[in-house]
């Protein structure tokens, strides 16, 4: 098992997975788990992608593997859209509700792909005229 999923709340994940009648229920309830939000906070998109690549090396044969995939995918929905979109486009999910979950993840992802608020704060203008094409953290470093 990949190290980054070891701290997941597998009991909580399993119950949500077992009780889910729809992908919407699965998505909403897994997203509300603290351990899934922590996954998003503590690991970068690249690290989450690496974990998915590791899992993808062979077909998943047990429920814990599938729960790990659901948790990582749904953790991606906390990330900026521009970071996860290329990854999701390259993911082929032959798991239950895979394609529908992709849509939900994209719909809920952080839309911060063109940051304007930082320049407003920095320079006191209401809104910058030209959107900036890098995320807030990179912009702060540059400033």
């Amino acid at each position: 098992m990949n190290a980054i999923v070891q701290k997941l709340d597998f009991e909580g994940l399993k119950e949500i997975y077992m009780m889910a009648n729809t992908p919407g229920y699965l998505f909403k309830n897994i997203r509300s788990l603290a351990s899934v939000e922590s996954l998003a906070k503590n690991y970068s998109v690249d690290e989450l992608q690496n974990a998915l690549e590791e899992i993808a090396t062979e077909p998943i044969s047990e429920i814990a593997g599938l729960l790990s995939v659901y948790a990582i995918l749904i953790a991606l929905s906390f990330k900026p859209l521009y970071q996860i979109k290329p990854l999701l486009e390259n993911l082929e999910l032959q798991i239950q509700w895979g394609d529908h979950l992709k849509e939900l993840i994209l719909a809920h992802a952080n839309q911060v792909n063109e940051i304007s608020s930082t320049t407003s704060l920095a320079f006191g203008s209401e809104k910058p005229r030209t959107p900036l094409l890098f995320p807030t953290s990179e912009l702060l470093i540059k400033l």
Binding site: T22, Y25, L52
Partner: protein, 172 residues
């Protein structure tokens, strides 16, 4: 970026012939994904939900709640459009909670998304001490909890929020 393929050892779901009264196809999927296998795991849910009145069968992913309520236990119906199609084309009418009788359908609806997260058939009503609604009665529902089992429970005693629930009856 190289394509990442994630798959399981389980067979993919398959659709069966399922039509509405209007003879229109209803999207569905017989699912073959992982479920609980050993009794020990099932016991955990019995402990977690001790007030459940009755549990039937073993866990199965083949059909879900909507598959029990509308599909004769044959398949999983999960798309919002498919459930809406059944309600429309099978001649269901929304009724108020105070009108509900055994045989009517309770639909648990997620208020934000409108997702039909759960459904079940009303079989009974009991006087409620706690959690009473308009008339001090609690409805008793038979439903299937996802890939778990068929369960008889009161309307509020389940993993699905009853906030936003609606009730339906076949008009005839």
């Amino acid at each position: 970026m190289q394509k990442i393929l994630i798959r399981t050892t389980m067979p993919e779901g398959e659709e069966i012939a399922l039509d509405s009264r209007k003879r229109e196809h209803i999207d569905n999927e017989q699912c073959f994904c992982f479920t609980l296998k050993d009794k020990k795991e099932c016991e955990e849910y019995k402990i977690k939900y001790p007030e459940v009145m009755f549990v039937r069968n073993e866990p199965t992913p083949i059909y879900n709640c909507h598959g029990l309520t509308f599909g004769g236990r044959r398949t999983t119906i999960w798309q919002r459009e498919a459930v809406k199609q059944i309600l429309d084309e099978d001649n269901y009418n929304e009724i108020s909670r105070s009108e509900v009788k055994p045989g009517d359908v309770m639909m648990y609806i997620e208020p934000e998304s409108g997702d039909y997260v759960h459904s079940g058939v009303v079989v009974h009503e009991i006087q409620a001490i706690l959690g009473a609604n308009d008339s001090g009665r609690q409805l008793v529902i038979v439903s299937k909890w996802g890939k778990y089992k068929e369960v008889m429970h009161t309307e509020t005693y389940c993993p699905y929020s009853p906030v936003g629930a609606k009730f339906y009856r076949v008009k005839g």
